[in-house]
Every structure is written in C-alpha cells, then in structure tokens.
C-alpha cells in the first residue's frame, strides 16, 4: 500500500484543533455563560479536577460496553449465519428482528431493571440489544449475495450447501462482518450510556446525570469527551481488525455492504 500523504495524516488533528479553537473563540466572543456552554478550557480543567471519578466511571462504561458488544458479536454471528443459510429462517425471523430493532432501547431499560436490578447487567444487555442488529444484517447479506453463477459451478461439481457456505459464503461474509463491527461498537456505547443514565449508580451516563443535577456543566462535557475518546479508540481498533482480517477485500475492491 502506498504511503498516505502528510496532509491527509494531519487532517484529523487539524480539524479537531480547529473545532476546539472555534468553540473557545465563540464562548469568549459572545460571552456565553459557563452553565450554558463551557469553554474547552473549562472542560479541560474539569477533566483534570475530576480525573479519578472520570477514570473509574469510564472504565465501568467501557466494561459494560465491551461485554455487551462481545455478546452481540457471538449472537449476531450465529443468527446472521442462520438467516443467511435458510430462506425459511430468514422469512420467519426478519420481520421480528426489524420490529425489535425499531423499539427504542431506552424503553426496554425499565423492563431489564425489573428483571435484573440496576447497574452492570442492564447496561450490558442494552449494549447487546442495540448492537447485534447490524451484525446480523451484514453477515446475512454477505451470505445471501453469492454470485449465482459461482453457486452453479459448485453445484455442478456436487457441492453440498455446507460446502458452498464453507468455501464461499463464510469467507465472503467476513468483510461484511468486520465492517459491521465498527457500527456495532459505537452503538454498544450508546446502549450502555442510555442504561447507565436511567438505571445505574456508576458509569459515565450516571456521572453526567449527577453532574447535570448539580449544574456542573463542565463536568457533563468532560463526560462527553471521555465517551468520545473511548468511542474513537474502539472504532479505530475495529477498523484495524477489519483491515487485518480482510485485506483482500480492500485490495480487490470487493463490494461492501
């Protein structure tokens, strides 16, 4: 692969710094009060001041997110394979899944609390529930879009359905699968934070709720920054995993869903 030009590599940093600069300038220039929109400087100070709490709660949120995400990967992969394998399973399950996905997950949290109490478990389950859908859809799409002609070539050799899945279906579903992980991990964060801000004594979601109750607006923003950083890091990890596992798809210009 060719080396990325310097300008492209610097671009994300420049854009981030520019955003912070504009934000700082706007707050100063229009004399926006801190309880309405704190300046980046004030947010930075809040991060330093509340570092131990931020750190502890971030770890909690990260752990619920990752456990929920891991469940979503396992379950999403299995369900995706099942849906891609059989037209009947597909026809039966798809409407259910779409309906389920349409339910706002914040409405599900109270039920989870009823069953499992508050804290770790509902956060994990919300993260799981919100993030498995794109994995299922992508894996199933990868399996379902095998070129019919290739399938004919293999069938005329006497290939069983399992052969076709193993030799063609699953390898070609992998780029779709790894592509969906980027979407799923960010959704998992959303799920965790939703649950924490409704039903938890820990986690970034809960921290931000408490900060809001006490009008500590810079701390709310510090929580947002922590979430953004975690989200970016996990996204980048998934993107790296994707590039590593399915480099052929990028080099060959394989159609991605």
């Amino acid at each position: 692969m060719s080396k990325t030009p310097l300008a492209i590599r610097l671009a994300p940093w420049i854009a981030t710094i520019a955003l912070i600069a504009v934000w700082e300038l706007a707050v100063d220039l229009f004399k926006i009060p801190q309880f309405f929109l704190p300046s980046p400087w004030a947010v930075g100070k809040a991060i330093v001041e509340y570092w131990p709490a931020l750190y502890r709660n971030s770890l909690f949120t990260l752990s619920t997110t990752l456990v929920g995400f891991a469940l979503a990967v396992g379950f999403g992969l299995l369900l995706g394979l099942a849906v891609g394998w059989s037209r009947a399973i597909n026809a039966g399950i798809y409407p259910l899944m779409i309906g389920f996905n349409a339910i706002p997950k914040v409405a599900v949290v109270p039920i989870l609390v009823l069953w499992f109490g508050i804290g770790f478990v509902p956060a994990v389950l919300t993260a799981f529930l919100i993030s498995f859908f794109p994995i299922v859809v992508n894996v199933a799409t990868g399996l379902a879009t095998i070129e019919p002609e290739l399938e004919d070539v293999l069938k005329a050799l006497g290939a069983s359905k399992l052969d076709i899945m193993r030799k063609v279906g699953i390898p070609r579903a992998l780029p779709y699968f790894f592509g969906s992980l980027k979407v799923a991990i960010t959704l998992a964060f959303v799920g965790s934070v939703i649950s924490e801000s409704v039903a938890s004594n820990t986690g970034i979601g809960n921290l931000m709720l408490q900060a809001q109750a006490q009008f500590q607006v810079p701390l709310i923003f510090a929580g947002l920054v922590a979430l953004a950083v975690e989200g970016i890091v996990m996204y980048a990890l998934m993107a790296m995993l994707e590039a590593r596992m399915t480099g052929w798809a990028q080099r060959s210009g394989f159609a991605q869903g």
């Binding site: 004919d152 070539v153 005329a156 052969d163 030799k167 052929w248 080099r251 060959s252």
Partner: protein, 260 residues
C-alpha cells in the same frame, strides 16, 4: 440412439405454472467426445439448456440424460465456465484452481495427503493455457483474459467428462478470444472431453464445434443441426476459407429467421 448428453422433448418453465416458458419441446443429443455448439437469439433459453443438462434445473416435461443416466440432481461430472470468471478474490490463482478438488470425490479425501501432486497438476494446466508462473497472483492482479483462462482451468482441473461453457469469451476482445479458441481446441483434442459451448459468435461456433445446434426464439427449441465437416486440426487460417465463411453465412440466415 441416445447421446452422452441427451435432452428429449424438454420443456421448462421458470417461476411455477404461469411463469416464463423458457424452452419447449427441446431435443438435443451430443455424443461422447463431441464438441457441440449452441447458437440462437438472445433469451432463447441457451443458459437454461445448460442448467437442465447439468441438473441445476429440472424440466417439467421431457427427459434429460447424461452418461446414460436420468438427471435428477446436479451431475457432479461437469466442469462449467461462464462469461464472468467468478474467481474467489481471497484465493490466488492456484488456490482458485484447487477449489473443485476440495469438493469432488475422490480428490476431496486425497487432497491434503497428495497436495504436491495436485499442485503440479494445476501448474501444468496453467502452463497449458499460457499462465505459467501466475499461480500466486490474485484474481484482481490478472487481466480479464487471464481471469477467463483461470476460470477455464478451474472447470478442467478435476478432469471432468463434460465441459459446459456458457459464452466464456463473451467479454473478451477479438484477439484474446481467438487466442483462447486455440486453447480450448487443444484441450478438447488432448483430453477427448465432451464439450457443449453456448456462444453468440458464429465464427467461434464454426471454428470449434463438430456440430452446431441453432435454437429458435423463446420458447427455445432446436431449429436445425449443422455438422461442421472442416477437418481437424483446424488453424485460425481456416476461418478465412470460403467453406468456413459459407457455414457462418448459412447459420446467420437461420438466426435471422429465428428472430422474426
């Protein structure tokens, strides 16, 4: 007399009753070792014929037999190649060639123990189509013509008795195409394999085939059979002889009439 591939009074409908009638009353016999070509207007059911003969589709009327047996499931002895090369992008050329061996018995159970032997076979085949030393390239590193050669090799690697080619050169330029005619001609001569070739190119049909079937417009059936009596081995020069041109002309008239 029944042929190696025998379709008798076959009709096929896509999409259940009331669906598209693709072929109707189609009868066609191809002898063992023969090179048959099928030509006809677009949409007349040529690809359908290929699917029926390989057990990928089943007729609602008539019988299909291959090697003396009624076709009730995919035939297992056929190698197929299409207009699109359909190579697997995550496998290099050599690994793409080995794919059929991972499926067809007895190779399937022998493959891991006799890997070297099979790799040598694949390399020989690649050499015979002018792709020596291209085995470790990935499909997207090959030109369209090279991909098509690889696809042909994949159709031949398990030494099938029957080779089914559906417009395999349709997407190639004229020079590459004529080059591959030579490749196919030599493979057929060397292996005494039965070939059924679907093509839109009448020169291609006349150059390669022993016998040409002309199909009617949809629903397709065989209008005429034309035996090509040009002696083998045939060189590309043969395509400029009056005898050759006369056959091409004759076929063209049939197709023009079939389209009306």
């Amino acid at each position: 007399m029944t042929g190696f591939v025998a379709l008798d009074d076959v009709s096929h409908v896509y999409g259940g009753t009331g669906g598209t009638l693709a072929v109707e009353g189609l009868s066609l016999h191809v002898n063992r070792g023969e090179f048959a070509a099928v030509v006809g207007p677009s949409g007349c059911g040529k690809s359908t014929l290929m699917k029926l003969a390989t057990g990928l589709q089943f007729p609602f009327r008539g019988t299909v037999q291959v090697a003396g047996e009624r076709v009730t499931k995919p035939v297992k002895i056929a190698g197929m190649a299409f207009q699109a090369p359909t190579l697997l992008p995550w496998r290099n050329t050599l690994e793409n060639l080995l794919l059929p061996l991972e499926i067809v018995e007895p190779h399937r159970s022998r493959l891991s123990a006799h890997k070297a032997e099979y790799v040598a076979r694949a390399k020989n085949l690649l050499t015979s189509v002018g792709l020596r030393d291209q085995g470790d390239k990935f499909p997207w590193e090959l030109s369209g013509g090279m991909q098509q050669r690889t696809s042909l090799c994949r159709a031949l690697i398990h030494e099938p008795d029957l080779l089914m080619l559906d417009e395999p050169f349709g997407a190639l330029d004229a020079f590459t195409r004529e080059e591959l005619w030579g490749v196919i001609r030599d493979l057929h001569a060397a292996r005494k394999i039965t070939v059924v070739l679907v093509t839109h190119d009448l020169r291609e049909a006349v150059f390669l085939a022993d016998r040409i079937f002309v199909m009617s417009a949809r629903p397709g059936r065989v209008l005429t059979e034309r035996v090509v009596d040009i002696p083998r081995p045939r060189d590309l020069e043969v395509t400029f002889t009056p005898a050759f041109t006369a056959i091409v002309q004759e076929l063209r008239e049939h197709i023009v009439r079939a389209r009306q």
